[in-house]
């Protein structure tokens, strides 16, 4: 397995550098001046990115310095117990390389942006130490060569996510949102753990490469235990990647600072589930049922989340549901075994969704904390850079040629269409979702940047991110260049990121994920595929047209539609009441069970009851025995004498009874 390489890639540095940043800022940041905190916080991901780029240049096809996969054991053996053998091993292959470039690259841009965005916040050092900690765990997650090390990263990003969602921990809603994200992710992690146990039982190893080779020895093995493993892993993936049924934490996660939403809850962490499926595709390839489940989850989530996004008024919530919907696309891609297309969409989505979130953050920043789109409007002239960069993001996510989203979304839809009759259904759902996506994104665009300003004259006192409002409550203003530069870079990436093309991208990933078919608009495609692309673009354009009609030309039309079907509208606005349904069917019964069965019977009845009985018995016997200690000397003497007498009688009777003879004494003189 280990390939001999002349060069060393120093993979361990990639997570180690952000970890060093976390340690320095986490322990000393409170006392350090802001400039040093920023330098450390930005230097760590930049250095990490540099290591990744160096590795990328060395492994680039043609450079020939290093062969992939490159395996690096950086700390020897981790666990050795019976059959279980786990090493501290990192591996770099094409898939990991793409993930690393996205994570450290986009991560670094978001770090830069954060310097501007968080500059007025109190916990500046705390924020950056958490952000570096996140990068540490995320790079461990994608570099890990076995499930257990991956699980370390998997849990760690959950921790970092929890810390950052609850960054404004003195706000109850933020603290609750952090807890909700953590608990819901635990449910998914439970599936991941079960999957790992099953893998260990079946393969005797948690290493990806060893699993791959032992699977290759049994070509006839399908379904059965593999399906069970896959379903467990899919449960884990739905938790992390916010898919049905565990998506509910992601909309609430918007309580965190906006750059966090961009980095963790849009570009990187939430794609970990997609990465997990792509990484273990050799299992999924053997289990059509698991693939079908993934595809159905993906399509259902994509459509469902898109409908909710149609009526949300909080700019970040729209983007949150949009993220869930786009992650659904990636699952859909995985579900039709188009892993490369899913990873392609993962990459372009990281570009344009990070851009959208950061631009939304810039809008919120410019409005001193306002997130409600009903109170925006007419910001095109006041926030020109934000407007133009966000426009790039909106067009990219809508899937309009030639922006990045078009290429990746088209690749997924094309693969779905090729996937037989069920694939046609998936394709149609995907297409409708694309229409909805285009509509709600342009709705956001029009509501935010066009028309008349609907801003309140009175500053809102209940704003999401308190620091923004408290520190500079002056008029609408464009953000500083620190925030606009990352926007510009991401806008360029959103524009050009898709031009790498599915054939080259898929070809690059082929050693890991298997060969891909080539869609239409690229060399090697055919006219049917071209037709599909035209349909997709037309759908996106239709969405734009409808949004333009409703939110620019006839702004009273949405109200009329809303009034004509209040039931549907309320259902959507309340997000299908899924939180409430979960609350009634799962959370409340659990709370009642905990309170009355575990708490009432278990805690009060057994644990407290046992201590009560023990303590009571001791007290009672003490009450009785304490009367002996009267302090009266003569009573002590009496007990002493009585005790001595009892001992004497006992000894005498024992001596008489056992030996049967008196102690011999010479009673007479002689």
């Amino acid at each position: 397995m280990e390939t001999m390489n002349a060069y060393h890639l120093y993979l361990w540095l990639i997570p180690a550098l952000p970890f060093a940043g976390f340690v320095i800022n986490g322990f000393l940041g409170r006392k350090l001046p802001k400039l040093i905190v920023s330098s450390v916080a930005l230097g760590a991901p930049l250095a990490s990115f540099a290591v990744v780029v160096r590795a990328a240049l060395m492994v680039w096809p043609g450079s020939g310095s290093v062969a992939l996969p490159y395996v690096e054991n950086f700390a020897g053996t981790w666990m050795l117990a019976g059959l279980l053998h786990v090493d501290f091993t990192f591996a770099l292959d094409q898939l990991t390389l793409i993930m690393l470039l996205v994570i450290t690259g986009v991560g670094f841009l978001i770090h830069i942006y954060s310097v501007g965005y968080m500059t007025h916040e109190d916990g500046y050092w705390r924020y950056f130490s958490y952000l570096n900690l996140f990068l540490f765990f995320m790079t461990v997650l994608v570099l890990a060569e076995n499930y257990l090390l991956m699980f370390v990263g998997w849990e760690g990003v959950g921790l970092a996510s929890y810390l950052l969602i609850g960054f404004y921990f003195d706000k109850t809603s933020a603290a609750n949102a952090g807890r909700k994200a953590f608990v819901v992710n635990r449910i998914g992690d439970f599936g991941f753990l079960l999957g790992m146990f099953l893998i260990l039982a079946q393969f005797g190893s948690l290493s990806f490469s060893q699993m791959g080779s032992s699977l290759a020895n049994v070509p006839g093995m399908h379904g059965g235990i593999l399906t069970a493993i896959c379903i467990c892993l899919v449960l884990g993936a739905t938790g992390k990647s916010a898919q049905i049924p565990l998506y509910i934490w992601l909309p609430d996660a918007m309580e965190g600072p906006t750059p966090v939403s961009a980095l963790i809850h849009a570009a990187t962490m939430v794609t970990a589930g997609v990465y997990l499926i792509a990484r273990t595709h050799f299992l999924f390839d053997r289990s059509p049922m698991a693939l079908a489940i993934v595809a159905i989850i993906g399509a259902a989530t994509a459509f469902f989340a898109a409908t909710v996004a149609l009526v949300q008024t909080d700019i970040k919530r729209v983007l949150a549901y949009s993220t869930i919907s786009q992650l659904g696309y990636m699952f859909l891609g995985c579900g039709v075994a188009a892993y490369s297309a899913a990873i392609f969409h993962l990459m372009t989505h990281a570009f344009f969704k990070a851009l959208l979130f950061l631009a939304a953050g810039s809008v919120i920043h410019g409005l001193s904390g306002q997130q409600d789109m009903r109170k925006m409007g007419g910001l095109r002239k006041k926030l020109p850079v934000t407007f133009w960069t966000m426009t790039a993001g909106v067009i990219a996510i809508a899937g309009i040629f030639p922006f990045a989203g078009f290429f990746s979304k088209d690749a997924i839809l094309y693969e779905a269409f090729q996937h037989g009759t069920p694939g046609k259904v998936l394709w149609f759902v995907g297409l409708v979702t694309a229409l909805l996506t285009s509509f709600y994104m342009f709705r956001l665009w029009y509501m935010t940047f066009f028309g008349e300003s609907r801003a309140d004259t009175h500053p809102d006192t209940h704003l999401a991110e308190p620091g923004l409002n408290a520190k500079h409550a002056h008029g609408v203003h464009e953000s500083s260049w620190v925030m606009l530069a990352p926007l510009a870079i991401l806008a360029v990436l959103s524009l050009l990121g898709g031009w790498v093309g599915m054939d080259r991208f898929g070809g690059f990933l082929a050693p890991v994920l298997g060969p891909v078919t080539v869609p239409a608009h690229e060399p090697g495609g055919n006219t049917l595929d071209l037709g599909l692309s035209v349909v997709a673009v037309a759908t996106a354009a239709l969405g734009w047209f409808l949004a333009d009609l409703f939110y620019r030309r006839k702004p009273d039309r949405p109200m009329a539609i809303q009034a004509s079907m209040p039931g549907v509208y309320t259902l959507l606005e309340n997000k299908y009441a899924v939180d409430e349904i979960y609350g009634m069917t799962i959370v409340q019964p659990l709370i009642l069970f905990s309170r009355y069965v575990l708490g009432g019977f278990g805690e009060v009845g057994i644990i407290r009851g046992a201590t009560w009985v023990l303590g009571g018995a001791t007290t009672l016997s003490g009450e009785f025995v304490r009367r002996w200690q009267s302090g009266n000397l003569r009573s002590y003497a009496g007990w002493l004498a009585a005790g001595a007498a009892v001992l004497l009688i006992f000894a005498a009777s024992y001596a008489l009874g056992v030996s049967g003879t008196m102690i011999h004494l010479n009673w007479g003189g002689h």
Binding site: R626, Q629, S630, G631, N632, L633, R634, A637, G638, A641, L665, N666, W667, G668, G669
Partner: protein, 104 residues
């Protein structure tokens, strides 16, 4: 009747009688001095039985024990009398029924 003609059991009976006198005195007397003297009486009763057994069995161990007991009793007398004087100074009484502070 010479000393040798008196049987050893008589000494033991005397010892037991002295010991019981000591116990009864310890239990019924209220004055601390008398209680203290009762203790001395019990110690000496035991000494007597030690010497008797030593003589009967021609063993010297019992007599050595008696010396130990006498030494300890002397020390105990010194400490005990000092305590009695201290108690009398602070409480102006030697009635054991009134010296009962050491209780729960």
């Amino acid at each position: 009747m010479s000393f040798e003609t008196i049987p050893g059991s008589w000494y033991l009976i005397l010892s037991a009688a002295l010991f019981c006198l000591g116990v009864v005195g310890f239990l019924i007397k209220r004055t601390l001095i008398t209680v203290f003297m009762s203790i001395e009486l019990m110690l000496n009763a035991v000494n007597l039985s030690f010497v008797t057994f030593a003589h009967e069995w021609h063993a010297v161990k019992g007599q050595i024990f008696v010396f130990f007991v006498m030494v300890v009793a002397a020390a105990e007398a010194a400490v005990g009398l000092a305590i009695i004087i201290a108690v009398y100074r602070s409480r102006s009484t030697l009635n054991v029924d009134q010296i009962d502070l050491m209780k729960l």
